[in-house]
């Protein structure tokens, strides 16, 4: 078939479709919605995937986060108990000394407290840490500086606060150089960081999200670990009736960073071995591996995308069957026309191409409309529901390609049926 013949066939097809405008439009709608839902579903799936991966990537894929967890109580303590558990300064020291390949080791203490400036006060989370904290959780400083090693070595009463806290306590004043009262002591504000930088460390874990939601903490205060150690007691307690439970926890977290993703899993095993030994198999810590979460999330969102895509593909399939149905009806309605064409010299292949061209025109038009509509829907979804959506070029090509494929697949049988009708009987058909 040369280009001229194709042009002629397409022209013939358009004429026939134009004869039955309503039927053609209704038939096309099946494909429009199919293609449109494939694109929309894939966009939503891709959006969910990116969102999850971004959240976990913020934890740092080369980080390993060791957290203190409260061990399961072996006996119900109705009396006065002192419960010492969790990560310790010695643990941090041991990790640093044992593993030479670690880039950094960052011990972290987290203390819920209260901050006060003049008459305004609010709940805060005090984070006692070291100056190289920003190697594991990049700190975006808005003003001033972050903690320095001098601060650390001299136990200086300085702190870095986040934007949220600035809004809450300082309103229109510049907080740098101001004195902030936290618990019973006074600290000089030396820097302001972008919002919720501390939370990025726990954002990926459900625990972290739950904690942030329940504590009602207005913001984070970063201070040297040494300062936090001297100013805040490691002992916390709960008192009620005749029970009196005391807990002593030195560090809430130790974050270590390795050089590359390949070192993450071996380091995980080594760390676990070391801590098990030091802690005598006591289950009072947990090692979170963002890389594992990342891989798990990638796997889950892939499944999510496949499920959504399959549902959409089924609707496309239904559209295709609709097209086949209509084309079969069209063929039987046009039996006489087919007979005439055969008498005038049309070969079987000419008839096949004619009906295939009509089906393809329908599905491609439907595909095109579906792509247009499908590119709009994700924006609407994002606008009204906060769900992130990402339209990839691949999904557009995929959806359009599938619609073309459906045109050929479901158009083939009606076209073949038309071509194989007996010309004599077709001519006699009323």
């Amino acid at each position: 078939m040369n280009i001229l013949a194709i042009k002629g066939t397409v022209k013939l097809g358009l004429k026939s479709l134009w004869m039955h405008k309503l039927r053609s439009t209704l038939t096309t709608l099946g494909i429009v919605f199919g293609v449109c839902s494939v694109i929309a579903m894939l966009a939503i799936g891709e959006g969910a995937s990116r969102e999850a991966q971004a959240a976990i990537a913020r934890l740092g894929s080369t980080n390993l986060i060791i957290e203190t967890v409260q061990p399961q109580q072996t006996q119900t303590s109705t009396e006065q108990t002192v419960n010492r558990y969790g990560l310790t300064y010695d643990d941090a020291e041991s990790i640093r000394n044992t593993f030479a390949h670690l880039e950094v080791t960052v011990p972290i203490r987290e203390i819920p407290s209260q901050a006060r400036y003049l008459t305004r006060k609010t709940a805060v989370k005090v984070i006692g840490t070291v100056p190289w904290y920003n190697e594991v959780a990049p700190v975006r400083l808005l003003r001033g500086r972050f903690l320095s090693s001098t601060d650390l070595h001299r136990n200086l009463s300085v702190c870095v606060i986040d934007e949220q806290l600035v809004d809450k306590l300082f309103a229109f004043e510049d907080p740098i150089g101001k004195l902030l009262k936290i618990a019973d002591s006074v600290y000089e504000v030396v820097g302001v960081s972008a919002e919720s930088m501390g939370d990025t460390l726990t954002a990926g874990t459900q625990k972290g999200i739950a904690a942030a939601l329940s504590s009602g903490v207005a913001g984070n205060v970063y201070m040297p670990l040494t300062t936090a150690k001297t100013r805040f007691s490691e002992m916390t307690g709960s008192f009620g009736g005749n029970t009196r439970n005391m807990e002593i926890v030195e560090l809430q977290k130790i974050i270590v960073k390795v050089n590359s993703n390949e070192e993450v899993l071996p380091t995980h095993a080594l760390l676990d071995g070391l801590l098990k030994r030091i802690h005598n198999n006591k289950q009072d810590y947990h090692i979170e591996v963002p890389l594992e979460l990342l891989e798990e999330a990638a796997r889950q969102t892939r499944i999510f995308s496949i499920v959504l895509g399959s549902i959409a593909a089924i609707s496309l399939l239904v559209g295709g069957i609709g097209i086949m149905n209509i084309m079969l009806a069209t063929v039987s309605e046009r039996t006489r026309e087919i007979g005439i064409r055969r008498a005038l010299g049309a070969k079987k292949t000419d008839i096949i191409f004619q009906f295939l061209a009509e089906t393809l025109l329908l599905t491609l038009a439907g595909g095109l409309l579906g792509v247009l509509l499908g590119s709009v829907i994700p924006y609407v979804v994002t606008k009204f529901s906060d769900v992130e959506t990402v339209i990839t070029g691949l999904s557009l090509i995929l959806a359009f390609g599938i619609s073309a494929l459906i045109g050929v697949t479901f158009g083939m049988y009606p076209a073949w049926h038309a071509a194989n009708m007996n010309p004599i009987e077709s001519l006699r058909h009323e």
Partner: protein
């Protein structure tokens, strides 16, 4: 020279248990430029002969030479080519295609022969003028009278300059005035040395041909020159 030459042509239909011998060892030769009428009551094998002559069907046995080549053993694709190139069909019910206008209907046989758009358009205009419908080129079939539609059908049949024109009751659906018009055109074509085969019930129409063959029970009963 014989444009159509049929030797020993038979056609048998198997209908369930019964075998129907629609055509029994028919011999027929039609020379170039001849105007031939085929007559016969229904069931005489008229339609079967027409379908075989028109290459719409294949014989059970025997030979059929059309324009010098043996078409009796050809496959579907080859027969389609032969129909398009060497045969011009004129049907009782005109059989124009509704979604195409007059010009496009006439161009259709040329489209299937791969004639270029410019050439087929030129030829179609020439033919539409010849049948006197130059002012109706863009009309759709339903906008034309029966006589006009049949004239378009004749123009279409002539598009690829066929070896024979096969007309099946060409005036069957027409009033006498339009019918006479159509027969007039056929006579003009005959005068231009076209070979014409008309199948009809109507003796008056058959009278206008040069030669009439009468079919009965699948055989040629009479072959007479008018």
């Amino acid at each position: 020279m014989d444009v159509v030459k049929i030797e020993n042509l038979s056609k048998t239909y198997q209908m369930g248990q019964t075998r129907l011998r629609a055509l029994k060892e028919v011999d027929l030769a039609v020379s170039r430029g001849q105007y031939l009428a085929i007559m016969g009551p229904s069931g005489s094998g008229k339609s079967t002969l027409l379908n075989l002559l028109g290459c719409l069907d294949r014989p059970s046995s025997g030979r059929y030479y059309l324009g010098g080549s043996d078409v009796s053993g050809m496959d579907d694709t080859e027969l389609s080519q032969i129909r398009g190139k060497r045969i011009g069909f004129i049907f009782q019910s005109y059989n124009l295609i509704a979604q195409l206008n007059v010009l496009e209907n006439i161009e259709l046989p040329m489209f299937y022969q791969g004639v270029s758009a410019i050439e087929s358009s030129r030829r179609a205009r020439e033919l539409v003028e010849m049948v006197g419908l130059g002012d109706r080129m863009k009309h759709r079939p339903w906008e034309l009278s029966g006589g006009q539609q049949q004239r378009v059908a004749i123009a279409r049949a002539l598009a690829n300059d066929p070896v024979i024109l096969l007309a099946d009751e060409p005036t069957g659906n027409l009033d006498s005035a339009s019918g006479a018009e159509i027969l007039g055109i056929l006579e003009t074509l005959h005068n231009q040395q076209k070979t014409i085969i008309v199948v009809t019930h109507d003796t008056a129409i058959a009278q206008r041909a040069q030669r009439t063959i009468h079919l009965l029970d699948g055989r040629i009963e009479r072959d007479e020159v008018n």
